[in-house]
């Protein structure tokens, strides 16, 4: 039965389809199938991270309407958002909490891909683009942390940028470019602001487009044990079956986010004072905690190298190795299940958990 209304909608659809190729896009979504097995649950973490990223874009744009990126006004403008602007506290809290949750789901997504070895051929570039997105997310976190210009963020940025300065030969120069001067100052703030609201979003959108395109092109990877190559393997259509389940995941993330933001609104702390001692109990964001705690344990000198140089070199090397996992894991590439990289993944999780735990429980003054 065709009513005049549905006929009109149909006409609009065909008009748009002829110009935009809507049917082809629809085909792309319909064609994709998602394998069903006991690890299917991990497929939802990427979508959840994407949802939280969209929340970040939305709330970030809202914050831009009131935020002022100068050393004199940044703290006061955030105070203004929190105290005077209607729902300002909520928007800022959601932005801060969603950032944390996004890093959290991103870590889980990353680890699940590592442990089920979804990086094997032909998905190496999906892994590499995902790794780059992880780096971008950490960059977002690091630059965004400074923007409220409070005591904690000021010292975290002093330490975090100083780390660049220990790089041999070019460190001093890079440090100056990063800080916009010798010290962390208002010049650093405008730099971080530009990176946070313009440079990183641009890079993130490009990488995200590539990442999603590759996921769409290669389809979901099934874990080695489940990947029987059998075309009759249990699976569900991506659209609408998986997509609707994905939406449930997004709703769950939104519920957690809203509760955290409402019941534990983000604090602002004290305004940064470049001529006050670092307060006891200074700490970075939780996802940098394991590195921060490691730096505390390193002695002043390891062999002939200063302790922090050795530590930072080790972290850099670790990062490069992780990036190259798809190319190093020759067993998984041949479709055999090797235990080595599983243990590397488990060891990594254990190290991060233990050091993070110590970072939060050790007395900061001993």
């Amino acid at each position: 039965m065709t009513t005049p209304l549905s006929r009109r909608v149909g006409a609009v659809w065909s008009w748009l389809d002829a110009r935009l190729g809507l049917a082809e896009i629809g085909q792309l979504a319909v064609k994709k199938r998602v394998p069903i097995h006991r690890h299917t649950i991990w497929y939802y973490l990427g979508g959840m991270t994407l949802f939280l990223f969209m929340v970040q874009v939305g709330t970030g744009i809202l914050l831009l309407f009131y935020y002022r990126p100068t050393a004199e006004e940044a703290y006061e403008s955030v105070q203004f958002i929190m105290a005077e602007v209607q729902f300002g506290w909520l928007v800022r809290s959601i932005h801060a909490w969603s950032a944390n949750l996004m890093i959290f789901t991103l870590f889980l997504h990353f680890l699940s891909v590592l442990l089920v070895k979804a990086y094997r051929a032909p998905r190496e570039m999906t892994w590499v683009s995902g790794f780059a997105l992880l780096a971008v997310a950490l960059g977002f976190g690091f630059t965004g942390y400074l923007l409220p210009w409070n005591e904690l963020s000021y010292f975290a940025t002093r330490v975090g940028t100083q780390i660049v300065g220990v790089v041999p030969a070019v460190g001093e120069f890079m440090l100056r470019v990063l800080r916009g001067g010798e010290d962390v100052s208002g010049a650093t703030l405008t730099r971080f602001y530009a990176i946070h609201v313009a440079v990183l979003p641009g890079v993130a959108f490009a990488l995200l487009a590539l990442h999603l395109f590759l996921v769409q092109r290669h389809g979901m990877s099934a874990p080695l044990g489940e990947d029987t190559g059998n075309p009759m393997q249990r699976s569900m259509p991506f659209f609408p079956n998986f997509f609707l389940r994905d939406l449930v995941g997004w709703l769950a993330a939104l519920a957690v986010l809203a509760s955290l933001a409402a019941f534990f609104p983000t604090e602002l702390g004290l305004k940064a004072d470049p001529f006050a001692p670092a307060p006891a109990g200074i700490k970075p964001e939780w996802y940098f905690m394991f590195m921060f705690q490691t730096l505390k344990y390193l002695p002043a000198h390891i062999l002939f190298v200063e302790g922090e140089v050795a530590g930072i070199l080790a972290f850099t090397l670790g990062g490069v190795l992780l990036l190259l996992v798809p190319f190093l894991d020759s067993k998984a590439a041949r479709g055999e299940s090797g235990k080595l990289f599983t243990w590397v993944g488990i060891g990594l999780v254990a190290y991060i958990l233990i050091l993070t735990y110590l970072g939060y429980t050790m007395s900061p003054t001993q």
Binding site: Q162, I163, A280
Partner: protein, 160 residues
């Protein structure tokens, strides 16, 4: 197969002409594009490097803190030009001053009366009353400043 890649056999001269023009085009194209890129990227790169700030000419500062305000076994952070310094009085009554920038990763240090020495909160670094790095990750001692008391003013200067 691209036509130009098989050397035309008719005359040697035509081949040389082809080679020259082709190389010339490639050369112009690559240097043109290279030049264009350079002319865009170089100014942008230079723009991102902050202009050098005038070297801090501060060689000595007179503190707003009076000598009697620095009690034995206490310390305060002050501005030495555009950098932080720390002035302290040892339990035995000596006034001393150091750079307050931790030699580890650049946090600002503080005086710990309970330990009677200098401490950095960021990575738990300890310095003794001579500014020597005695415990934790700092790799070098703190730079020491000369302290002079002139009447009721503290004057801190570089290079003892």
């Amino acid at each position: 197969m691209v036509e130009g890649l098989t050397p035309p056999g008719q005359t040697r001269r035509r081949f040389v002409d082809w080679l020259l023009s082709r190389t010339l085009t490639t050369w112009l194209l690559s240097t043109g594009v290279g030049g264009l890129l350079l002319s865009v990227l170089y100014p942008a790169g230079r723009y991102l490097v902050p202009p050098a700030a005038a070297e801090s000419a501060t060689a000595a500062v007179t503190l707003a803190i009076k000598p009697e305000d620095v009690a034995p076994n206490s310390g305060q952070v002050f501005k030495f030009g555009n950098r932080p310094g720390i002035v302290l009085r040892t339990p035995s009554g000596d006034l001393r001053a150091f750079s307050a920038t931790c030699t580890h990763l650049g946090c600002i240090v503080q005086y710990r009366p309970d330990l009677s020495h200098i401490w950095c909160a960021c990575h738990n670094g300890h310095f003794d009353l001579n500014g020597l790095n005695v415990q934790g990750p700092p790799p070098k001692p703190l730079e020491e400043f000369a302290v002079n008391v002139r009447e009721d003013q503290i004057v801190v200067s570089k290079g003892a």
